[in-house]
Symmetry: C2
Subunit: 343 residues, 2 copies
C-alpha cells in the first residue's frame, strides 16, 4: 500500500512531463491553470508528496531549520518553541532540535550543520555559558542565524530579545506614580546584561523624577535565596528614613522570597512595602498577594526569530542588516503594589 510515487509517476498519470509537474509543485506561474489544476488533482488523488531528500538535494536547501536550545527545563522554553512552531508550521520547513546535553559547548553540532548542509538556518536560544563566536563564524560562512537573546547579550548576530530597559522603566514609572521614592532593587546577578538593562531603565525613570540613586538600595543578590532574605532584612535595619517603600525583584521567584521575608519581618505587602517581580510566571497570579510583574513576550520572541531566519534564508544576498529586535514587555499590575504608606 501507499507505494511511494515519484514525480515521474505523477507526470505519467497526468499525461504531462516531469518538469511540468515540478513547475506545478513550485507554483510557477508559467503553467496553464487548467493543466495545473489537473496535475494537482492527480497528486491529491494519489496522495503524492515530493520526496524530502530529493528536493533538498536538488535545491541545495534541506528545508530544515535547526533550533539549538540549552535544555527544555527552563520554563519559558515552551513558549518560545510554541512561537517558533506556529510560524514554521505554515511553511515548508521543519524544526530540527538540538539540545545541549553535553557540557562541552555546542560540540560538533555547529560544524556538522554547516558542512553537511543539514539545516538551512539556525535559531539559537542563548545559554549563559556558551560563547557566541562559533555562531558568528558560522554566520560569516553563510548560514542564517538568529539568536533568541533572553540574556540581553550584545553581539553582531541578528537577534530578538525582550526590552529589559523598558521593563525596568515601566516598573519605575508604576512605582513613582504610586508615590514611591525609595525603591530598592534585588538584582540577582548584576553582571548579567539583562539585569543591568533593567536597572538602567529604573534609574533613568527615577532620575527623571528627581530621585537620586542610592547604592544602598541596589543589591547584587546572586541566585541564592538566603542572600536575598538577608538583604531584605538588611534593608529594614537601615535608619527609618532610608528604608525602601518598594522593592523590585529581578524575577518572580525572587519576589516571592522577598514577600515571604517581609512577612516574617512583620511587614505587610502592599500596605507597608510594594513588591514587583519580573517574568509573570504562572504562580504570579495565584500567589497572595497576586504579584505585580513584567511579562516577557516569549511566544512572540520565538515567532519573530523564526520569521527572521526565514527571511534571511529567502534572501541570502541582501546582506541582512544585523537586526536586534527588542520586543516590548508588559507591566501586569496586581495586588503586590500599592500607594506609598503615609509617613
Amino acid at each position: 500500500m501507499a507505494e511511494k510515487l515519484t514525480i515521474r509517476d505523477v507526470a505519467r498519470l497526468a499525461g504531462v512531463s516531469k518538469s511540468t509537474v515540478s513547475l506545478v509543485l513550485n507554483e510557477s506561474p508559467k503553467v496553464d491553470p487548467a493543466t495545473r489544476r489537473h496535475v494537482l488533482e492527480v497528486m491529491r488523488r494519489h496522495n503524492y508528496v515530493p520526496s524530502f531528500a530529493a528536493t533538498a538535494l536538488s535545491r541545495g536547501n534541506t528545508g530544515l531549520i535547526g533550533m539549538i536550545v540549552p535544555g527544555l527545563t527552563w520554563r519559558f522554553m515552551a513558549d518560545i518553541n510554541y512561537g517558533v512552531a506556529k510560524v514554521i508550521e505554515d511553511t515548508k520547513y521543519e524544526i530540527v532540535l538540538f539540545t545541549n546535553t553535553k557540557d562541552g559547548g555546542y560540540g560538533g553540532i555547529l560544524e556538522r550543520i554547516l558542512t553537511s548542509g543539514l539545516t538551512a538556518g539556525l535559531l539559537v536560544v542563548a545559554a549563559y555559558d556558551q560563547p557566541l563566536e562559533p555562531l558568528i563564524e558560522l554566520q560569516r560562512n553563510g548560514l542564517p542565524i538568529v539568536l533568541i537573546n533572553t540574556l540581553g547579550r550584545a553581539s553582531e548576530l541578528p537577534s530578538v530579545g525582550a526590552d529589559n530597559y523598558a521593563g525596568g522603566a515601566a516598573v519605575g514609572e508604576h512605582l513613582v506614580s504610586l508615590g514611591h521614592r525609595r525603591i530598592a532593587s534585588v538584582l540577582g546577578p548584576t553582571d548579567h546584561p539583562y539585569v543591568q538593562e533593567r536597572l538602567r531603565g529604573l534609574r533613568d525613570v527615577l532620575h527623571a523624577a528627581g530621585i537620586a540613586p542610592d547604592p544602598s538600595l541596589e543589591l547584587d543578590s546572586g541566585f541564592v535565596e538566603e542572600t536575598i532574605r538577608g538583604q531584605v532584612r538588611g534593608l529594614f535595619e537601615l535608619p527609618p528614613g532610608r528604608r525602601p517603600t518598594a522593592i523590585f525583584a529581578y524575577h518572580d521567584p525572587a519576589a516571592f522570597t522577598v514577600i515571604d521575608e517581609l512577612h516574617r519581618c512583620g511587614l505587610k505587602v502592599p500596605e507597608d512595602v510594594s513588591v514587583v517581580g519580573f517574568n509573570d510566571i504562572d504562580a504570579a497570579s495565584h500567589v497572595r498577594p497576586a504579584l505585580t510583574t513584567i511579562r516577557q513576550p516569549f511566544v512572540e520572541m520565538g515567532g519573530r526569530a523564526a520569521e527572521l531566519v526565514l527571511s534571511a534564508i529567502a534572501e541570502p544576498d541582501e546582506e541582512q542588516p544585523a537586526r536586534q529586535a527588542l520586543l516590548p514587555v508588559e507591566l501586569i499590575v496586581r495586588d503586590s503594589t500599592g500607594a506609598v504608606p503615609a509617613a
Copy 2:
C-alpha cells in the same frame, strides 16, 4: 571559506576514487587500512562532512527521527527529551520536532512524514486527546513508531511507559508496612488507564494484606482542586472508624492540595494522616512535610524509546514484536508518611 567539499574533492585530494571514499565513509572492511587512514586524514584536515541531503536521497533514509510532542509545557517533557537526545546524539540521526500547536489532531503531519520520507522513524509522546489509529496505520505502512506512553493506553504500537501498577502496589506496600489499613485514594480522572492501573496495584496489595476494598475511600476527583478539597473534608465526616489514616493522591500537586486541606481541618501530616503523591516533581522535596511519592523514570523512558525506534529502523525486516516496555518506578519515602496513629 569553508567551501563545501564533495566526495569527489576528497577523492581527488586523497588520490583515490570516489567509491573508495564512499567505502571509507561507510566503514566497509573492503578497503586497505592504510588508504583508509589516509582518506580519513584528508577528510578531517579539510573538514569534510558528507552532504546530508545527498546521503539521504541515495540511501533512502533521511537520518531524521521525528518526535511528536503535545507541547513543551508539560513539565516532564524536558526529561523525556533529554533521554531521547542522549541516545540520539551518539548516532548519525537528528531529531525533528513536531509540536501539536493546532487542535485538529496531528493534521497533515503524519501523511507528510510518511509519503515524503521525511523521517526514518517516529517517537510519539501520547497526548490525551489524540487517537492512535493514524499512527497504527503509519506503522503498517512501514514507518517505525514508538509510543512514549505516559497515559498507559493499550495499543498494538511498540511503546514505553512507566509501571503504574507497580507504583500503586509500592504505595500500598509502604503504607501497609506502616500499619495503615484504611487507605483512601484521590484518584483524579478515573477513566484514565494509568489511574486505573495504579488503583489496581494498590487494591491487589491491600487484598493480599487481607484488607477489603472500600468504595467510600476511592474518590474520582477529576482535575479540579476544589473537588479534591471537598472530598478530603468528606472523608473526615465519615464515622470515626471509617475514616482513612492514609491518602494516596494521583499526582503531587493533588497531594499538596490534600495536605493543605488536612491542615485546614486541623489534622497533622503525617501524625494523623499519611499522604503519598505520584511523580516526584521538584516541589515534592521542598515542601513541608517533604512528600513521599513515586518517581517516574521519564529520562529512561525517552532513552528507551529512542533505542527502540533505532533498532526498528536498523532491522526493518524483523517484524518487530510490538514491545510494551514498562519501566520500573521508584518509591521515594520522605516525611509525609508515618506509622498509623494509635487508635
